[in-house]
Point group: C2
Chain length 240, copies 2
């Protein structure tokens, strides 16, 4: 499994992904699921991957190769929508190539992405690409998109990640959402990769990896635990 979150705020975008991949509980590994394409001052594109690792890695390799061989590629197209179409095309091409072989082995081609960022001349945007290559874009009412094991962490995001939240509060909330998910699903695991993009900056200045035992992450999640227990105690008791 995987857990990835992309958030769109007034101040900027937040991206976070876990790093666990597995083929059964006896075969798991760590892989970074966050890929950044950056040309400072011109564009910042962030892709968060979920699904089969062979599929998602190949999509990203194809995107990189096409950037040197084709006229329209992720460094040249003028909008984030065009980037989403390029990712979608790459996904469908790989599915055409690998799909029948996977099906012969009783498997299914499975790759999906969260894509966000900004290209000079356009506002920042955030998309979710489904396994079929179609995609949706985040809006004001639904300003965060999740992939993978999304349910455990969603109520926490609902609490504090509205469009008007500050980057600071929403970042804490995203990290707590990862903690909740990891406590309930062993197939989501550290390290967590976090990237906060400041609107119109057109460069990556805030990127950080949280490894097992990270002091900030531990302090954050412990304080969340203590704080919410206090909230429960202060809630009005039910009178019978």
């Amino acid at each position: 499994m995987t857990y990835c979150v992309g958030v769109k705020l007034g101040e900027g975008l937040i991206f976070a992904s876990d790093s666990r991949t597995h083929a059964g509980v006896d075969n798991y590994a760590k892989f970074c699921k966050m890929t950044v394409f950056e040309q400072p001052g011109e564009r910042v594109l962030v892709l968060l991957s979920s699904g089969g690792l062979a599929a998602t890695q190949t999509v990203i390799n194809v995107l990189r190769q096409r950037a040197t061989a084709e006229p329209h590629h992720l460094w040249s197209v003028p909008s984030m929508f065009d980037v989403a179409v390029l990712v979608s095309d790459a996904m469908r091409d790989i599915e055409r190539r690998d799909g029948p072989f996977l099906e012969a082995g009783g498997l299914k081609f499975n790759a999906s992405f969260i894509l966000g960022g900004q290209i000079a001349g356009e506002d920042m945007r955030l998309f979710r690409l489904y396994a079929e290559g179609n995609f949706i874009e985040a809006g004001v009412e639904t300003n965060f998109l999740q992939t993978g094991e999304a349910k455990y962490g969603k109520p926490i995001l609902d609490l504090a990640v509205s469009s008007t939240a500050t980057m600071e509060d929403a970042t804490k909330c995203v990290l707590v959402s990862f903690d909740s998910t990891m406590l309930s699903n062993l197939s989501v695991g550290m390290p967590i990769d976090l990237l906060c993009y400041a609107r119109d900056s057109l460069e990556v200045t805030m990127k950080r990896r949280f490894d097992e035992g990270d002091a900030y992450f531990e302090a954050l999640t412990q304080q969340w635990l203590k704080g919410t227990r206090r909230v429960f105690q202060e809630l009005p008791p039910l009178e019978w």
Copy 2:
């Protein structure tokens, strides 16, 4: 979908269930999913149902009818384990009867239960019966059992429903867990039926239904929202 929770604490047991049933978004209804069998001073049995309504209602009808016709029934057997076996037997009998017809229509027999309570001479116990009729019993490390749409509400239960929690705190937590689930899944809906059983009381004294707009439920969930937002603001900010 459905959401049911059973909790086992030092002080007693908590049961809660939603009331929404549906066959598609254009066909939904309210049905109580909590069934209580009580003989004050002798036994209290509580069943929470999830799965197809035709299946779960028939299982409960069969349990009631067998109580008047067979030597071993839910009013006579000496242990909660025996009650779990009776429920399991009824589930399998109905599946034998209905299963092939459902399969002919492309459906699957689907019923599962949370069962808890106490019989005089034994401590209180809490079980979860799977659709196949096999079952597990809650213990000290895992003292709550959920059925249906379990993921959205689980991190909240993990926060405040340990074996040593008070009935008062755990009850508030169970209700907040329902609120989180209903916000994320439209197929879980009010009214919520709640029953708190005090250890060794052998009678039901705390049973309550929370309807849409219930003043206590509204106050509780609003205060939870405000309280957790405050906790988020007080969490240490991430330094870059």
